[in-house]
Symmetry: C2
Subunit: 226 residues, 2 copies
DNA sequence: AGTTCACAAATGATATCACATATGCTAGAT
DNA sequence: ATCTAGCATATGTGATATCATTTGTGAACT
């Protein structure tokens, strides 16, 4: 198992950096569904003792990114069509909610930064750098929802991202087939117009087209439907 | 700090039981907002070494039930009016979503069990057993949302309950002032009629009246508004 | 060849220890 | 009396050791 390192500032705790590394790896789909993990294996891979690894894994298990089996072993959960569709539906509900509640706090400056992120995404797409595309996409959404100063939904949203993550590589490969219209441009237009209804619509379409269609295709080809 | 014990079956791990105990205590509001916690303090209180306590605490921190401060100390987060209103709004969005997606899987047998829970709540209310009332209420909601076999929203919902928990005792004391109409009865009626719109309406009203109004009152009386 | 049992290796869970940092208290200076 | 410096204590973090349980392997048996 090879978990890429991540830049960390000096004061971060080992537990924290393990958490960040695993989280990142899961979210971009580095680790495939069904992968079995061991505390000592991860600890060895990262050159640490099992202690901080256990703490990081526990956190991820509470976010439903890692599954603790009855035999006390750990695994990345398998994806099924039913679970996938529930996750996408939840993602839409949560992100439409978060977008709606961010709009009143939105400044032109943030819109500008969102625009820049979208530009970077265009570059990543043309370079076929799919992991980077994924990260930038999530960063775009996170930034929008975080402008609400009392925001409490981002952690829930990130948990859904984590659960969809292992499946991400398979989905994103097909994204060009289904993602004909650039919904981020629509989101940006709605933001500039401060148009709530348009924003909610564009957000839903973005998520649905970015994951649902291609994801379902992959799943009906490969996986059990239960 | 006195964290009540909880019944556990033989095979549960120490870490797991600490997690369950803390979680329960936070959810019914045993621990007040702003309370400072220490690993060793909790460990001593439960007769365990710090190791399993750390893991349980880490999990709860990832569910935003416990806050890790920059000095690496831990505390139960303070509540503010802004955060409170965001939490209630998120609770409504999530639970309306979950209720809607459970309805298609609902059996008469489950409706019967929900009815029984509601009866128990009436008794708890007449006995003024407020902690029990809280637990039964959450159990009622959890049972409904869990009939969806592919359900993925309950963990997110429980995280919101956890974040509202420390505030629960103050709110529930006032519940009689605002909770004039029994919205659980309305939910049950909607379930029996398989009426989605009525279900969603009743769910929203139940949550809003059960927490929002009395909660806001408590907060505007006591706390900073930021 | 396939099955079963026994033993070895791997793994998870927890306590303990060592270390670094943060906190709190006391004594001295102003 | 108040502030500050310094030291003792408390606390968080992580490595290690130990034990119980699970997994895996190989030999004996059918």
């Amino acid at each position: 198992m090879n978990i890429p390192e991540l830049p960390v500032d000096a004061d971060t705790t080992d537990q924290e950096s393990v958490y960040a590394r695993l989280r990142h790896a899961i979210m971009v789909g580095t680790i495939e569904p069904g992968t079995n993990l061991t505390m000592r294996g991860l600890a060895d891979a990262m050159g640490l003792s099992p202690t901080p690894v256990r703490e990081a894994v526990r956190r991820l298990s509470s976010e439903n990114a890692i599954e603790i089996l009855p035999n006390r072993r750990m695994a990345i959960p398998e994806m099924t069509l039913g679970r996938f569709e529930e996750l996408v539906a939840l993602r839409i509900t949560l992100e439409v909610h978060a977008a709606e509640r961010s709009l009143p706090y939105l400044s032109d400056h943030v819109i500008e930064k969102l625009q820049q992120l979208d530009d970077e995404m265009d570059i990543a797409l043309s370079e076929e750098n799919l992991d980077k595309l994924t990260i930038l996409n999530l960063k775009f959404h996170r930034m929008l929802y975080s402008v609400n100063p009392n925001q409490v939904s981002v952690p829930a949203i990130e948990s859904v991202w984590l659960q969809l993550g292992p499946f991400q590589r398979q989905v994103v490969k097909r994204v060009k087939e289904f993602y004909k219209i650039d919904r981020h441009k629509e989101i940006l237009t709605a933001l500039r117009a401060r148009d709530v209804a348009a924003l909610m619509n564009a957000t839903e379409s973005d998520i649905r087209e970015g994951s649902s269609r291609s994801g379902r295709r992959v799943l009906t080809e490969n996986l059990p439907t239960t």
